[in-house]
Symmetry: D2
Subunit: 155 residues, 4 copies
């Protein structure tokens, strides 16, 4: 199997993301995916089972953490893929990417998770040959910044 084209790589990543059971459970789906600018985001909608406080009708902190972790991991995966470059065999690259895991994460809950629709975006702080550090943000449909996070991934 030869190195994929950018379009093939995109559908590969989309496939990996869409196949994660708990990502489906939350209803997270790939939203933006621009390899050039390394802009990545995923979106999801409010549903009753995602509520953490039904007096206030706001998202559970665990839903927010799940979105940040998932988008951070996806962002890290793309960055690690590019970092490995052409020196490593394509099969070995995919192998390393499937082993990519979160080492630690900080989440800051800045505002109550109110809204009907949420977008979570990721960006890169550091890419090494073993570690990737990403920053994530979650906005609601009023463009309010609900939460930010920083995570470290090993691959």
């Amino acid at each position: 199997m030869s190195e994929p084209s950018p379009a093939e790589f995109r559908s590969l990543v989309e496939g990996i993301f869409g196949d994660i059971p708990f990502v489906r459970e939350i209803g997270l789906r790939l939203h933006e995916f621009d390899l050039e600018s390394q802009t990545l985001s995923a979106a999801f909608d409010l549903r009753p089972q995602l509520i953490g406080n039904h007096f206030q009708n706001i998202l559970h902190g665990g839903v927010i953490a799940t979105a940040l972790d998932s988008v951070g991991g996806l962002t890290a995966m793309v960055a690690a893929y590019h970092r490995m470059g052409g020196a490593i065999d394509w099969q070995e690259k995919v192998q390393r990417l499937t082993r990519l895991g979160t080492v630690d994460m900080r989440v800051d809950y800045l505002k109550p998770g109110r809204g009907q629709h949420f977008v979570c975006s990721g960006s890169i702080l550091r890419v090494g040959n073993k570690l990737v550090v990403t920053r994530m943000e979650l906005h609601n449909d009023s463009e309010e910044l609900i939460s930010t996070g920083t995570a470290t991934f090993l691959y």
Copy 2:
């Protein structure tokens, strides 16, 4: 309404916890709840929708973060309740507890979340008149420490 007995307080807390939609979604239920020793834990079982990596059959990091956040919040709620003492009216205490929210959390993913059954426990690092800081641990059914976390709560 007068101050509840310890048994009434326990069922109140159990009720609040069991009514959180996303806590039910994960399948988290109160496990230990000893007010004397301030020992608190919640348990849940592996189910297909909680998987993060189906090649490895391990929990999604977001499930782990949800368990840590929920148990941390519960532990903080009990600590804040005791800290408020008798000087504040019972109704006002409950009001303040329902507003308790996570400010920030760090999660460390120490081992892959493998197992059929998981227990998450919480303990107190700091209780002030506004903030509570808790530490959480998640073990699997082989007594392996899967994850630890630290969280700050405002009430």
Copy 3:
């Protein structure tokens, strides 16, 4: 004593910052301080006693953490001051600001702390009536991002 003018407030803050013994020990001094844009930064120079690894001649992680914590605290102080507004007496405001303390902080060490001159800047993520959350960045004289951090302050 009446509410200070912006210029008086600036020299008050500058005085508080410059009087902190450990800030002087590190050699941190106020660099930018624009109340309009809430842009705040402090600068310091490499000196032999700030080294953490003398094989590599790089800053100790504790020096970086000190810079991030100090600049975060200063940024939080200015934000809290504005948040309190005119409703609270000036004396009481100053009292509350002198009690402002760091609750927790995450530091990410992105690149080795190499350079002769460093600038640390702060920005606001959340300002409430009890808590402020700030984000900090440390750059060297080659404009490299050495470190980022997020901290929660109580006032």
Copy 4:
């Protein structure tokens, strides 16, 4: 050069620690070092230049972060050394240890840093073949827990 004896290893580590300029600046010195139980701690005394708030006469948060980072790094170094075992050449082991660096750290400031004498201890949460995660605690001379932290190290 052959593999060192436990006593030689101890004085090697003691030497590395004592030679770090900023560790000397803070006045941190090795306190306990028991390789069997992996118990490690360092101690330091209050001095005027370590003060962060001279109204309250308490340690600067950066001093606390420096102690936690330094003791965490030392604990990680010892754990990494044992983890590498006999399969790797002694020279290469030392090479890898000198490159060990902090990836990220969370510090929780639980109580004001009051006291004349402080002890900071470290313990291991995870040791892999690339990463070590440690937990640190700082106590004062009244046995109060002033601060805790968690840090990730790469070697």
